[in-house]
């Protein structure tokens, strides 16, 4: 709770200065799959309240990086820190409980539950220390409805989640991570499969959420990232290629060569 208040008092992004302790940090993070270096010696710091974009071509290691941070993969070497405390190799469950929530690229909502129940499921975890003390009714409904209105799904709260359109399911997924109350949200390709109008809406949504939280967003769509992120990290072949503002990245010839050139061609 105190950490939330602290995050709220900072507005906008704070560039990482020496002495500033980042809310999320990786040091020398590496993951090998046999001979392949999926992520290689990545040093990555995100400040509190920032919206960080992570881009790179397919296979650059973006999702692997997320997997390493959230405990789905154990690093071959390197360390991960959250608010200065080491979380390297923790299980996904433990990482989630610390306060890092992840929105997955492939939507995984609960299709046989109602939209409201989906969010309630995500929210009620906050209320209960242990997973088993879930027999007492908990008053998270208000929180859930607030979250649903934030992601513009309140009208659909009674519908089955399985009946939502793809774009709506993406928003519901976003709602799920919001409802966890996590301070740091990792959004894995939030606009995947969305139409152009939906993307614009998503950009607005992401910006509105960032006021109280720290976001790390991976994306293929550079235009989207340009709109939402203040700082962008570029990954290529598992290594950190460049980092900086959108303009700086766009001008960087190395980035152009490996990524933007291909992206422009694909966008037409």
């Amino acid at each position: 709770m105190a950490e939330r208040l602290e995050a709220e008092s900072r507005t906008g992004s704070v560039p990482c200065a020496p002495g500033d302790s980042p809310v999320l940090e990786t040091r020398g993070l590496t993951r090998r799959f046999g001979g392949l270096l999926a992520v290689h010696d990545v040093d990555f710091q995100v400040s509190e309240g920032e919206i960080r974009g992570v881009i790179g071509p397919n296979g650059a290691g973006k999702t692997t990086l997320f997997n390493l941070i959230t405990g789905y993969l154990k690093p071959s070497s390197g360390r991960v820190f959250f608010r200065g405390q080491e979380i390297t190799g923790g299980s996904p469950r433990r990482v989630a409980r610390r306060g890092i929530a992840r929105k997955f690229q492939i939507t995984q909502v609960f299709p046989t539950l109602s939209v409201l129940d989906n969010v309630v499921l995500a929210a009620q975890q906050r209320r209960h220390r242990s997973s088993l003390w879930l027999f007492a009714p908990c008053r998270v409904r208000g929180v859930a409805e607030e979250v649903l209105s934030d992601v513009h799904l309140l009208e659909k709260s009674r519908s089955l989640a399985g009946s939502l359109s793809h774009g709506e399911q993406q928003r519901l997924e976003l709602g799920l991570v919001l409802a966890t109350g996590a301070a740091v949200l990792l959004l894995d390709e939030p606009t995947a499969g969305m139409s152009v109008e939906e993307r614009a809406g998503m950009a607005e949504l992401v910006l509105s959420l960032a006021e109280k939280r720290t976001l790390v967003v991976t994306e293929h769509d550079f235009d989207f990232i340009k709109q939402v992120a203040t700082t962008i990290t570029v990954l290529n072949k598992g290594e950190k290629l460049a980092e900086g503002t959108a303009d700086k990245i766009a001008c960087d010839p190395r980035v152009r060569e490996c990524y933007l050139g291909r992206e422009d061609a694909r966008d037409q």
């Binding site: 959230t70 996904p92 469950r93 989630a96 409980r97 046989t112 409201l116 027999f135 908990c138 009674r158």
Partner: protein, 338 residues
């Protein structure tokens, strides 16, 4: 469509409970209309329905399938039988304690089996574990002639077996109602939502911070306890237990009862058990050797044409329950298990 008429959803949500009351009342009234022989049969089938209820929660709500629920039925039955015959000093006043012990032991055993399996990340092979447990218990009991009565079984003393007449049956129905209520409350509670979430997408639930291993194991333990309760009551009702109570064929049948009755509901398993067992009884008299074929066909027809089971087809499911639960849970259970 449900949203068209305000208040209709609320009415339909109540409908499930009303259906439960109707079924319960019907079962309570049956002993008055059936003859004595059929009443005894009903009693036996009602003890089976405890197993089905548990399976209904574990499989229908949480997505954890078990083809060995009768293993826990047997644990409950044998606990009561052993305590009463091997340990001196028990009297009628101890019966609730005995039954409770059987229930708790079965539940603990189920919880342990599940926890160890899920902890070791057995995933979808858990169903094999459930089959094995039943077989192992059966073999073990047969082998232990002195300790557990072996293949001869154990006969319970006269005083514990209730006499003819509806008295015990009414108690049985009462206990069944209480069990039903407890499970119903569990399913309604936040815990129930997590169970359903696990059924749909276990990985997602875990990424939200839940200990899905613990929750699945607890649910399974609950279903095992229900089965054990049925077994304990069965031991008293029939006055005799033998290794066949661990019967894994019956465990297969339990799945049929649940699916035909209505997977994903609580009333369904109850209804399914009573109906299928009575149907089986009459079919075996009529079709002689081919009755197993008929039951198998019934199962196939049910899955193909009435995937929501009897209850699901009769009553409109609530919005946040199931639309296509059987197919969903079976498919998702296979996809999402790690």
């Amino acid at each position: 469509m449900i949203g068209l008429i305000p208040g209709l959803r609320k009415k339909l949500a109540v409908q499930g409970f009303v259906l439960a009351l109707v079924v319960g009342a019907a079962i309570a009234v049956l002993p008055l209309v059936l003859g004595r022989f059929h009443t005894e049969l009903l009693g036996t089938y009602l003890t089976y329905s405890f197993v089905a209820l548990g399976l209904g929660v574990s499989f229908g709500y949480c997505g954890v399938i078990s083809l060995g629920q009768f293993a826990f039925f047997g644990v409950g039955a044998y606990t009561v039988a052993l305590l009463v015959t091997r340990v001196a000093g028990f009297g009628l006043e101890h019966v609730p304690l005995l039954v409770l012990t059987g229930t708790i032991l079965a539940g603990l055993f189920g919880f342990l089996v599940a926890y160890v399996s899920f902890f070791l990340k057995i995933g979808s092979l858990f169903v094999l574990v459930t089959i094995t447990v039943g077989i192992l218990l059966q073999k073990f009991t047969i082998a232990q002639l002195d300790l557990l009565g072996g293949i001869n079984g154990i006969t319970l003393p006269r005083w514990i077996v209730p006499g003819p007449g509806g008295g015990f049956l009414r108690i049985l129905i009462g206990i069944l109602a209480v069990t039903f209520l407890v499970l119903w409350l569990a399913v309604r509670a936040p815990f129930g939502k997590v169970m359903a979430g696990i059924r749909d997408a276990e990985g997602r639930v875990e990424s939200l911070g839940y200990n899905t291993i613990l929750i699945k194991s607890f649910t399974f333990g609950l279903s095992a306890a229900a089965a054990g309760l049925g077994g304990a009551l069965y031991a008293m009702l029939t006055g005799f237990v033998s290794p066949s109570v661990f019967g894994f064929v019956q465990s297969f049948n339990a799945v049929i009862w649940v699916v035909v009755g209505g997977l994903g509901t609580l009333v369904g398993p109850l209804l399914g058990t009573v109906l299928v067992n009575f149907a089986q009884f009459y079919l075996s008299a009529w079709l002689l050797n081919y009755w197993t074929l008929a039951v198998g066909l019934l199962f196939i027809v049910a899955v193909l044409f009435f995937p929501r089971g009897l209850v699901g087809t009769i009553s409109r499911p609530e919005t946040n329950r199931q639309a296509d639960l059987t197919g969903r849970s079976l498919r998702r259970g296979q996809e999402k298990r790690r």
